[in-house]
Amino acid sequence: MTGFADRGAAPDSTVTYAFAVCRGEDASGAPLPPGLSAGAPVRALRFGALTAIVQEVPAADFTEEVWRRRLSDRAEVERCARAHHAVVTAVARFRPTVPLALCTLYRDDWRAIEALGRDEARFAEVLDRVAGHVEWGVKVYVRPEEHASGPDGATGATPRPAPGAAARGSAGGPAPGAGRAYLAERRERQRSRVRRHEETLRDADVVDTTLRGLASAARRLQPQHQELTGDPRPQILNAAYLVAQERTAELSAAVTALRRRVGAHIEVTGPWVPYSFAGEV
């Protein structure tokens, strides 16, 4: 992190970074991960009836300018996102937890207590909603055969029929129906591509509708770009479901049945702390 230090801030001043808010008087019960800075431990900070999980971090490392640079460095982004996520996950293991967005910062503990305290009712409401629940991420990918075939069909470079081959059976020139047969084949390929596309969208709807039936709440997220996932298959559904812990087996059975029923590939991630259900409903 030193490489990103900002000359503007005093070298030794610190700010309070807030990771999450949870119920309970203290956050003891589990060792907490190191967080975002090596200098100070991640700790609990009481405000009202709730507890914030915070860490003192060097002010110079947490300015907008530093983050602007940091965010174009994939390794740094990954390190920070994982460090934040690790703390949130560790806290949520033992109590209902509301994750805060990455980079929620206060000048000091007192400011954090004051500011978070103003939203105590809102936190309490979210904690009630997510208590006893976990978030499951479900993604549906385009059916493999659809992705494998480019706009021109499976090989992408369909050669024109060689004159000799097309003329087989006739004497000399191209067979009379060769052109029309070629066009018919192109049309058929186009039709089957459209058909597969529609089937895939239907798969996504079936998956979403089925899982919504089991969930206390559901959100459709933006499908992830292939550059970001590194997966060559386009994603057609990216959804999050807030599911009661006692319905986990039901969810598992539903996904197994869906996998048998639909042709598309279904990926399940979780259990997540209910990040996607912490904001406004």
Binding site: E64, V98, L105, F123, T248, L251
Partner: protein, 115 residues
């Protein structure tokens, strides 16, 4: 979370270390409760854009290393490509003129029909 046993039957149960970066980013940046902090770092404005841009740029770099340079030869994307296309057409025309002048029109027509 520890009392959720979902491991048999359905895929992954990512711990903090194993979940994929795209999934984590979309949650820690976009989700989570947004509370006004003291220090304004408006990640939603700057970051997703930056990241996507970066990732795109790096994939272009990868493509270039692999010898794929469509953005340099597609006339819609590059003026250099447009010049390339003109030069090529020019060369073909010169070749055709030379062929005609040599009285070899037959092979030229055949080549054209084939092209």
């Amino acid at each position: 979370m520890s009392d959720v046993d979902y491991r048999q039957g359905v895929a992954t149960a990512p711990g903090p270390g194993t979940a994929n970066l795209a999934d984590i980013l979309e949650r820690v940046l976009d989700k989570g409760i947004v509370i006004a902090g003291d220090i304004k770092i408006d990640l939603l404005d700057i970051e997703l854009l930056t990241i996507r841009l970066r990732l795109f740029v790096s994939s272009v770099d990868t493509a270039r290393k692999a010898g794929i340079d469509w953005w340099e030869t597609d006339p819609a994307l590059s003026s250099r490509a447009a010049q390339c296309a003109l030069r090529e057409e020019n060369a073909q025309l010169r070749h055709r003129v030379a062929a005609l002048e040599a009285g070899d029109a037959e092979s030229g027509t055949a080549a054209e029909r084939e092209a």
